[in-house]
């Protein structure tokens, strides 16, 4: 079922990514930030994908810790790698926007710092998986749970602490000219994130099958 859906969904995602720049170009400028605010469309969408990926990894890790099912572990690894990739996009595009809007590349405020911490936790997860040796899968799963626990803090940080970063009220209050392109980009990012999760999970499955094959050869 998933394999049959993959190619049509990939075509839709590619078409959406090709069309998104035209929608963003036609969206109105923001009154105080001007052109640079247009980074928002992909930056915030990548941020939503980041939260989704962190939840996928955290939930997969929780299921793996409680049930020891390899399938859950595969999903957790895929989610963690996607979190790192989307986190890199968020953490690079954010400062590019900030340099123009705030006059600085980086500010150690709650949103930026908590996002960086979350990104580093998922990097730690991947490093543990790569170099941790036997048993590191369970330790890494616990690390992923801590990473997922950061998501609510990252989300609400802008509303709770005084920060330079726009608050969460920006998205519900978007004006019609900005709302359409933004949600279009969000759907494109969530779709491409889902497809990447599918392919990355498949890669992890094949790796486990290869390990089993090597064990069969040794026997």
């Amino acid at each position: 079922m998933l394999n049959r859906l993959f190619v049509p969904l990939a075509v839709v995602a590619a078409a959406m990514f090709a069309y998104a720049p035209f929608m963003i170009l036609n969206a109105p400028y923001e009154a105080t930030m001007g052109l640079v605010q247009k980074i928002f469309y992909f930056h915030a969408s990548a941020g939503m994908g980041l939260f989704l990926a962190a939840f996928v990894s955290g939930i997969g890790s929780a299921v793996f810790l409680f049930t020891r099912k390899p399938a859950a572990d595969r999903v957790a690894v895929a989610g963690a790698e996607l979190t790192v990739m989307l986190g890199l996009i968020v953490l690079v595009t954010g400062p590019l926007w900030a340099r123009k809007a705030w006059g600085v590349w980086w500010q150690w405020d709650a949103r930026l710092t908590s996002t960086l911490v979350m990104w580093m936790i998922f990097n730690a997860y991947l490093l543990l998986r790569r170099y941790g040796g036997p048993g590191s899968d369970r330790l890494a799963a616990a690390v992923s749970l801590f990473g997922m626990a950061n998501v609510p803090f990252v989300y609400w940080s802008v509303n709770v602490w005084r920060t330079l970063h726009p608050t969460t009220s920006v998205i519900p209050s978007l004006k019609p000219g900005m709302r359409g392109p933004f949600w279009f980009c969000v759907v494109a990012f969530l779709l491409v994130s889902t497809l990447i999760l599918m392919v990355r999970t498949e890669l992890e499955k094949r790796r486990q099958e290869l390990d089993e094959l090597y064990l069969a050869v040794e026997d």
Partner: protein, 97 residues
Amino acid sequence: MIKKAVYALLLVAVLGGTPAFAQTTPPKTPTAGQDDFVPVSAPINANDTIPAPRLVAIAYGFIWVVLFGYLWSVRSRLGRVEREMETVSRRVSAGRK
């Protein structure tokens, strides 16, 4: 089983509840562009020292490079694993003969 379910519920309660408690701090003063975006028809401050078009182009270029680079990396890793599986499978079947 019940013990595990209780642990899971406690974990969800802690993760979901903490930010709600943290929201009791006094509200901050809103600044322009922070609580809502106001649309205008033309860009402002066209003579700024760092041109916004360059920053926007770098941001979108970076996103495309990372996304497609990552997709290419996953695809090539998948291809490598599949080739290795074929080689090992051949060795296994040759060993059985």
